[in-house]
Symmetry: C2
Subunit: 304 residues, 2 copies
Amino acid sequence: MGALLVVGSVALDSVKTPFGEVTEVLGGSATYFSTAASYFTTVRLIAVVGEDFPEAHVKFLKSRGIDLTGLERRPGQTFRWKGAYTHQLNEAQTLDTRLNVFETFRPNIPDSYRAPELLFLGNIDPELQLSVLEQVKRPSLVACDTMNFWIERKPEALWRVLEQVDVLIINDGEARALGRNPNLVQVAKEVLSRGVKHLIIKRGEYGVLMFNQKQMFGAPAFPLEAVLDPTGAGDTFAGGFMGYLSSTGNLSEESFRRAVVFGSVMASFTVEGFSLDRLRALDYKEIEARFQEFKRLTHFEDIR
Amino acid sequence: MGALLVVGSVALDSVKTPFGEVTEVLGGSATYFSTAASYFTTVRLIAVVGEDFPEAHVKFLKSRGIDLTGLERRPGQTFRWKGAYTHQLNEAQTLDTRLNVFETFRPNIPDSYRAPELLFLGNIDPELQLSVLEQVKRPSLVACDTMNFWIERKPEALWRVLEQVDVLIINDGEARALGRNPNLVQVAKEVLSRGVKHLIIKRGEYGVLMFNQKQMFGAPAFPLEAVLDPTGAGDTFAGGFMGYLSSTGNLSEESFRRAVVFGSVMASFTVEGFSLDRLRALDYKEIEARFQEFKRLTHFEDIR
């Protein structure tokens, strides 16, 4: 299948966890997404950075084969996020957010990007997500992310996006906010009744649930002995998921399930290091090996 | 395989959830355990109730084929527990606990119970768990439960129990308290190094993890549209788990994995009603059907 287009943020993160602290390291949803997906397919990135964005990061993204034609460099500073995690590592406490050049980001799709096979709309203003959809030929598969901020502030624009996407990938808190309901099965019914074909709910260390009109799929997260920094796990999941689907071109239920597992596998690597440290040191054989471990983790024999 | 012996509590529960409220209904860890296990095997119960324990409950337990030779009836009132759940349904808020006759409970094993094939030591004082172990011929498999109260107050007695058990079945909060560590994989290493052969960690709506020296197994909880009352889910899980192992007599890794799924299946029924309402109305065909649904929920094809 053809290329995978992603629109989202590229950032410089400062993160503190019980296991260490890093300052102004490479981060951002589109960065994690692209890097994870780059192990499976050709990724085209739409994002914006400031004049201060280190050339080494550009070089790294290029080394992963990511097409950076759509990476705008604009006057000003790159988006910065500062966060901390306590021992449970479940939820980040945001200490500081400086949108900088990301505040006025208007995705502008280069001509060479206008016919993606797959599209991932990262967590940006739903009106910008709509503008991206208007600029491209309808891809075979469109997935998107969002956050509580947009669910609360721009629900109408968001639902207009959701009517046009095939897969919504959000975390459990966002799902409950979107469906205004604590029960995820009921949330799934509601969301699927409004046009989304597949709802994927990320539950951090507890794994993932995927719903469509006919089936449910549930996978635990891969249990890890050393989780250093959960930042980017959800975006990495989405990158592994979409990357695998892009590589296989098979959009069947069975393929979606495997894609969820590849997404989970990629996320399990991301949290083993700070920033993209573990992800960038990865070998495809390690990915395959952990996929096999994941199979052993979840497999049980039927009773028949 | 032979009979399954369980020691634990029989109680009268008053429970309030966002979906309803019940007063002095049948409850208790050994009640949920026995009823769940009774769908698979012969259960022998050791517990105590007061003079006020309704005859209808005795009749129900008998109707499930549960051997009540070891159900003591003593002067005084039956153990009562009162609790409430908020919308998330994750954790009960205990409003009132009256141990009553359970406070001076000393498990006394009838002669006919002294050679069980499998033994489940419910959540009671670890010193009483030790006294039960002393009173029986060593079973093929011993499993036990505990709680933070004993982990904090009687750690030495508890570790003496754990040295003698094959399977420890606890929830994630208890596991973290026992291992004094937020990371469950590290907790598992610690617990397994001290003699327990299998550690099963229950995570409520997020499912179950099972660890032994060689393998990990992870299963999500079955996603449900209507969860009315989570009370007893963990004890039901243990009952389904031990009941299945008792019925098959196969103590292989593969059998343990299926047992975890049967435990999860049984727990998924319990939470669909208050008290044992859903569990008591169950047909074995429904159990098998949900096992199959569970297989469909978690299955994915290998990449090879």
